[in-house]
């Protein structure tokens, strides 16, 4: 079944993106090419639904990804016909141009256009975001970072931008900065379980990068445990959270480090080995349950991503070479 067009297609795996973009002709044909926005016109023509515009936006994204430029252009034309050239539609137009650009010269030209638009109105968020994404795509990471910081300066409640900043720092290996930016996201969305898990992953990678001997290792591992635990607390049977928890506890058990000095850093010291052991057992049993139900396609267990389940199975089989295949 093709995924719903209401949801953002950015994170979909390629096969599903293809399925989404193949829906484009159907959607384009079944909905009218122009929708009147005047009150009188709407009496006679088809009624407009807000979902339709979201669908168009998502179609543009997935069609560009799969190389169906014609359909993307058609979707964009309809958006222009309805909304005129507002900021968001302009940004989508820029996106289409970016996708079709052949060489660096053309990209530079698009970048100049963005700059020009920002000169007219320097709080144009969608265009600003596109500009940052383009800078990053061209490899000018430090420019992108400074532009992003500037954006966050006047729009500090933009969780998406904070998350982008975190990812940008992460790609450069600047773990503390990435963690800081992710924490900002958490302030804006304290109940987002995936953000908690993401932060846990960042902490874990930071700890792994600094190595077991460094002083901050234990603290970061302890924090990773806390983040993963919170993500599980916010979401029952959260595969990603249990996966991370298992990863962290397994590594800690393998290190066999004692919680050396519990004096410094009052609340971010490691729990004692027994607790870690129990957390590990819990995560293992939960993961096994999820993998079992999900591979059996039990009713009510079909929401998991196949790749994630496969990864969990691999992790489990590393752990115990026999007996997991049930």
């Amino acid at each position: 079944m093709a995924p719903s067009l209401i949801r953002s297609p950015v994170q979909l795996p390629p096969a599903e993106a293809l399925a989404t973009s193949q829906q484009a002709p159907v959607v384009l044909q079944s909905s009218p090419s122009t929708v009147s926005s005047s009150a009188l016109g709407s009496l006679f023509s088809a009624t407009e639904k807000p979902e339709l515009w979201i669908q168009y936006e998502n179609l543009i994204l997935s069609c560009l990804r799969t190389g169906d430029d014609r359909a993307a252009q058609e979707c964009h034309n309809r958006l222009v016909a309805r909304f005129g050239n507002n900021d968001r539609v302009k940004a989508l137009g820029g996106l289409i141009k970016e996708a079709q650009a052949q060489n660096n010269g053309e990209l530079e030209k698009i970048l100049k256009e963005y700059d020009q638009m920002l000169d007219e109105n320097n709080t144009n968020l969608p265009i600003m975001k596109r500009r940052i994404a383009l800078l990053r795509s061209m490899g000018r990471l430090s420019d992108a970072a400074s532009a992003l910081v500037q954006l966050l300066d006047f729009s500090p409640t933009d969780s998406e931008a904070w998350s982008e900043l975190s990812d940008l720092y992460f790609s450069q290996g600047l773990y503390p900065q990435a963690i800081y930016a992710m924490e900002e996201v958490l302030i804006l969305a304290p109940n987002a379980w995936n953000v908690h898990a993401r932060l846990g992953e960042l902490q874990y990678m930071a700890a792994a990068a600094s190595g077991a001997t460094s002083g901050s290792y234990q603290k970061q591992m302890a924090e990773a445990i806390k983040r993963f635990s919170r993500s599980i607390e916010l979401c029952d049977d959260y595969l990603r959270g249990y996966y991370g928890l298992k990863l962290v506890t397994k590594r800690l058990l393998k290190d066999n480090t004692k919680p050396a000095k519990q004096t410094d850093d009052e609340d971010f010291s490691l729990p004692d080995p027994k607790t870690i052991e129990r957390l590990n057992e819990l995560a293992t049993s939960k993961l096994a349950e999820i993998v079992r139900h999900s591979s059996a396609q039990d009713h009510g267990w079909r929401g998991y991503d196949a790749a994630e389940v496969a990864a969990a199975r691999e992790l489990l089989s590393e752990d115990a070479p026999s007996g997991i295949e049930r």
């Binding site: 950015v10 390629p14 190389g67 996708a99 596109r130 953000v195 049977d237 079909r302 929401g303």
Partner: protein, 143 residues
């Protein structure tokens, strides 16, 4: 589920309509008889009582419709955050279908997905490259 609920409701409505019609007929008959017998005697008060079978039919009809309507309500959603989130993760779209088997219109998946997906920052050229590589690898696999 929807079909069962609808047919039960339809059957109940039929019963109710029949009961209503019977009651109406009964009361006109009664008043007619009362009018004619009023000439003889002067006690029309007994005319208001309804035959027991019509009363039973009415109550049964209401109960049948009730069952049909209750079966037809959209399923409730958990209000505890972790249960709700767990449902999204575990069941995906399956958990949010209405009785017709269509996914509810206000179902968004994880509402915080956009924080990680960042659709406004998407690097479309990279995605395109990755997609063409994926297509190539698919083609090689099929050979």
């Amino acid at each position: 589920m929807m079909l069962i609920s609808k047919s039960i409701t339809a059957f109940g409505s039929l019963l109710l309509a029949h009961a209503c019609y019977s009651a109406r007929e009964h009361s006109t008959l009664q008043s007619f008889r009362a009018a004619t017998s009023a000439a003889l005697t002067s006690t029309p008060a007994a005319a208001t009582s309804l035959p027991i079978d019509i009363a039973i039919e009415t109550v049964v009809a209401i109960l049948v419709i009730l069952v049909g309507l209750v079966l037809g309500t959209s399923s409730l959603r958990p209000i505890q955050w972790r249960e709700w989130a767990g449902k999204i993760e575990r069941e995906g779209e399956d958990g949010f279908k209405d009785n017709n088997g269509e996914v509810n219109r206000d179902y968004m998946g994880n509402p915080f997905d956009f924080i990680e997906g960042r659709p406004n920052f998407v690097d479309i050229r990279k995605q395109r490259r990755e997609f063409t590589e994926w297509v190539k690898s698919q083609g090689e696999q099929q050979k």
